[in-house]
Amino acid sequence: MIRFKSIVMRYGGFEALKGVSLEVPEGQLVTLLGPSGCGKTTLLRTVNRLIEPTEGTVFIGDRDVRGLDEVELRRGIGYVIQSIGLFPHMSVLENVVVVPRLLGWKKEKRETRAREMLALVGLEPPTFAGRYPRELSGGQAQRVGLARALAADPPVLLMDEPFGAVDPPTRERLQDEFQKLQSELRKTVLFVTHDLDEAVKISDRICLMSLGQVEQYDTPEALLRSPRTSFVQGFLGPSRTLLRLSRIPLSRLLEPPDGHHPSATIQHSVSAREAFSSLLANGLRSLGVTDDVGLLIGVVRLETLLAAASEEEP
């Protein structure tokens, strides 16, 4: 658990954070969302003490981070940044085991761990272990950055726009894979983004910030359903109804097959939003839904999707 208590950060006369209080529950993924310059990065960096706030206290568990040795503290926290910051003079393998090495792990244990981590983030160890960062694509480098942050199995992860620098298809794939990983690993994650879609997609809770303050802290569903201030309403914009669909798994809206042969099908594992896009794109009123091996398991109808999007919380 990470807890911020009345964090104020002043640069000269400018207040970058104006008294932020927030709790990130154990095992949850919380995004700090908001326009550029609203203080997300500043808040994130108070956790591993790369920034010391002017006022206020950050707790990890029940311990004030100022009471911990800063080097020890940082080795216990995974850290991923947008520009990745891989060490150009180290091979991929050496990059991944930086923290285990700082922690004094034995060489065999480190290398075993590095191979596990590379496989975990979808990079075949034999191909990638010996490469240098300059020999990687943007998406591959970002995977290495994630493997590096996870290598020492820290309970807490700080991620500052980790998928911000890659092209949109790669970004979506990385988000999907990260989401899957997180559902297994259950780290306590503080995740900075300015991308509403991304936040809605991956968060357990979203902290929407503006000008150094928290505007609303809620689950994505609640945030989208009932924006509390006009800033939030404006930030979410007209697509919030559509965004609500991206939180609904398609399997929840499934109806049994109606006997007709569907003119288009979609995988059951996608979100209701993707089914909706597919209906619009194909100009249809219903879609067949298939399982992992392509067998028809049901249909989803446009009316069901529309109802789900506008439905009040039960």
Binding site: E72, L73, R74, G76, I84, L86, F87, S91, R134, E135
Partner: protein, 251 residues
């Protein structure tokens, strides 16, 4: 570690090169023959007080002495003034080092004479002052231009300050530092030709003697030796850069 698969070792070739050049310098009678063919009118075509090999070795010894001092003083100096504790001394260090190079080496040699007396020590000191600038300037530049995202990531991972210096900053600064060392050593080697003015040895001895007695053969002998050594040194240090920073070259 990444040269593991390549064979032979990339520094083997320069090593063989040095061996060959020294063997070449040792062929005193060959040089005598060559120079007397080229300068048939010269009274004595080859410098006889000292063999060519010995002159070359003296020259290398002076260069090595000054070069070692430059590295041992220049690099720590640059590291010190780029740490928070030493930042206040940075302008001072930069100025002293720059002044060291603006003085003509001959003037530095003569000014150093009262302190070090006649002999190679004075020459080494003067060349050290003269050669300090490229190493210090490049090292300062190298530490100032390290990628800030990499340093941020390193601090966030939990490197302590000394670990950050040894495992991240120095390796990343190394290419630019090595380029400075290369410039500096070649400069020192070429400038060491003036060492005989304060009683030092080296390949400058036949040049200066040749100028004094208008014997062109002596001058050619020294100048050719210096040029050959300078080229070889430059090439060797270039190879060394490649070997020490394998991460900069694609496979």
């Amino acid at each position: 570690m990444s040269w593991r698969e390549k064979s032979p070792h990339p520094l083997l070739v320069p090593l063989v090169g040095w061996g060959l050049v020294l063997v070449l310098f040792a062929q005193q009678s060959f040089w005598q023959g060559l120079l007397s063919t080229l300068f048939p009118s010269a009274r004595s075509p080859i410098f006889e007080r000292e063999t060519l090999l010995n002159l070359a070795l003296q020259h290398l010894a002076i260069t090595a002495g000054a070069g070692a001092l430059v590295i041992l003083v220049g690099l720590p100096l640059a590291i010190f003034v780029t740490r928070p504790a030493g930042a206040a001394f940075r302008p001072l260090a930069e100025n002293i080092v720059a002044v060291g190079q603006t003085f003509p080496p001959v003037a530095v040699l003569v000014l150093a004479l009262p302190f070090f007396g006649f002999g190679s020590a004075g020459a080494v000191m003067a060349l050290f002052l003269y050669g300090l600038l490229p190493v210090v300037r490049n090292s300062l530049e190298a530490f100032a231009s390290l990628p800030s995202d990499v340093l941020d990531a390193a601090r966030g991972m939990g490197y302590s300050r000394p670990q950050l210096l040894w495992r991240v900053e120095l390796p990343l600064a190394l290419p630019v530092i090595l380029a400075g060392i290369r410039t500096s050593l070649v400069l020192i080697l070429a400038t060491a030709t003036v060492a005989p003015l304060v009683g030092g040895g080296g390949l400058g001895v036949p040049i200066i003697a040749g100028l004094a007695v208008s014997n062109l053969a002596f001058v050619v002998q020294g100048a050719f030796g210096v040029a050959l050594l300078a080229l070889l040194l430059d090439w060797t240090l270039g190879r060394l850069e490649l070997t020490l920073t394998p991460w900069r070259n694609g496979r």
